[in-house]
């Protein structure tokens, strides 16, 4: 082709541009490029092709992911309702991150908390679905706190109380009733002065299990700290530092067990 192809072959040049060379072979091409304008021009041409490919097709990376694709990968063995929750959560948050959260929280190692479906997963779903809500984050607001506690206690057939964590800087926003494998569960939402929201998910626990220490499950930007307390299971979810979340969970535990 051109004169320098005697020393640097087309395939060498190509390998160099594709980042496939290292050590002496890399340095040899790099040196030849500085002294040979024709070779440099050909290298540029190769790079321009790669640039053109990216310019033409990179926008695909930012397209919303079809829900069908997510459904194919995540929670294939789950009920349609929960799959829907996962997909809604993904769409609510937007982008891949949301999908990754619900998705990777899904498979849990066996544990004594796995009565119906893993608690941290349920809590993360519910968190991801309701936290972005502007107008209807809760069903019953904090101004009706007593009614909220009474209502949820009745539905969960257990004494359910929204713990007071004002000392940690979080005000109760309110709560809602949720389905969990066909049974009632509750979610309380809290907010700090900056508007950061955390949620406490509560559901009945089948076995009269021993109380457990705080456990932690995290992914991407939703952390979940969960524990058992008598006949109830609690999971605190939030997109904050794990140690902060654990401290708040500790406050909650103490508020519930004075």
């Amino acid at each position: 082709m051109s004169k320098q192809s005697k020393t640097i072959s087309e395939e060498e040049l190509q390998s160099y541009v594709d980042g496939q060379l290292d050590g002496p072979s890399h340095d040899r091409v790099a040196a030849a490029l500085t002294s040979d304008p024709e070779l440099a021009r050909r290298a540029d041409e190769l790079r321009r092709l790669a640039d053109a490919l990216h310019a033409t097709y990179d926008s695909v990376l930012d397209e919303p992911m079809p829900t069908e694709m997510l459904r194919t990968v995540i929670n294939r063995d789950q009920s349609p309702l929960l799959r829907l929750a996962a997909v809604v959560a993904w769409m609510t948050i937007g982008g891949v991150i949301g999908g990754l959260i619900v998705n990777s929280i899904a498979p849990q190692p066996a544990s004594e908390l796995r009565a119906e479906r893993p608690l941290p997963r349920e809590a993360a779903y519910a968190h991801a679905v309701y936290v972005p809500e502007i107008r209807h984050p809760v069903e019953v607001g904090a101004d009706e706190r007593e009614h909220l506690n009474a209502w949820l206690s009745k539905r969960l057939a257990n004494p359910v109380v929204a713990p007071d964590i004002r000392e940690a800087g979080y005000q109760l926003v309110g709560g809602r009733l949720l389905p969990d494998a066909g049974r009632p569960a509750a979610q309380f939402m809290y907010e700090d002065a900056q508007g950061t929201r955390i949620t406490l998910y509560v559901r009945g626990h089948e076995e009269s299990a021993r109380d457990t220490a705080l456990r932690h499950s995290t992914d991407g930007n939703i952390s979940v700290v969960y524990w058992l307390d008598g006949s109830l299971a609690y999971a605190l979810a939030g997109s904050i530092q794990r140690d902060q979340l654990e401290n708040i969970a500790g406050d909650m535990y103490r508020a519930l067990n004075p």
């Binding site: 033409t56 997510l70 990777s104």
Partner: protein
């Protein structure tokens, strides 16, 4: 450790990008991705955790794509008229300098195996070794195919073929 599902979901955008460039159209591309995901999930036990998941997924997609092409070859009516044009020209006049200024159309005019190699390396930035694994060919073949594909693309884009020019549309 990331779950298998998470690793797969992370790759969906890139699988879609590759499929889009490969097929040239959104609907068949997403169908191909969808099929790839379904097959990956049903064969998850075949994935070796120590290895990168991306080449594994691209391999599945490549195999499905090749099957699809073979199926299409038996039922040529499925090609659009325009596609047929480009294919016929590329097939009957491989030496012709077809002027295709649009990159998407130029890619379509490449033989399938050249298009795959140029996209896996140039767009998806797989290494030659990974590309060889995906396509089931030796690394040396990747290099020579790549070089031919790029030369051909360059000709198609600039319209500087050596033989007589032929314009499409």
């Amino acid at each position: 450790m990331k779950s298998f599902e998470r690793l797969v979901v992370e790759q969906i955008p890139r699988l879609r990008r590759y499929a889009r460039a490969l097929t040239g159209d959104r609907v068949p591309a997403d169908d191909l991705v969808q099929e790839t995901l379904a097959r990956a999930m049903s064969r998850r036990h075949l994935w070796i955790r120590q290895k990168e998941i991306r080449p594994w997924l691209f391999t599945i997609m490549h195999n499905l794509y090749v099957n699809e092409i073979e199926k299409r070859a038996r039922t040529p009516a499925l090609f659009s008229a325009e596609e047929n044009d480009a294919r016929l020209v590329a097939k009957e006049h491989p030496e012709a300098g077809v002027i295709l200024r649009d990159l998407g159309r130029a890619l379509k005019a490449l033989p399938e195996e050249q298009r795959e190699v140029v996209l896996l390396v140039g767009l998806e930035q797989l290494s030659y070794r990974e590309t060889a694994r995906v396509l089931g060919i030796p690394s040396g073949t990747v290099m020579s195919r790549l070089s031919r594909a790029r030369e051909r693309l360059r000709e198609l884009m600039s319209g500087t073929g050596k033989a007589g020019l032929r314009r499409i549309k």
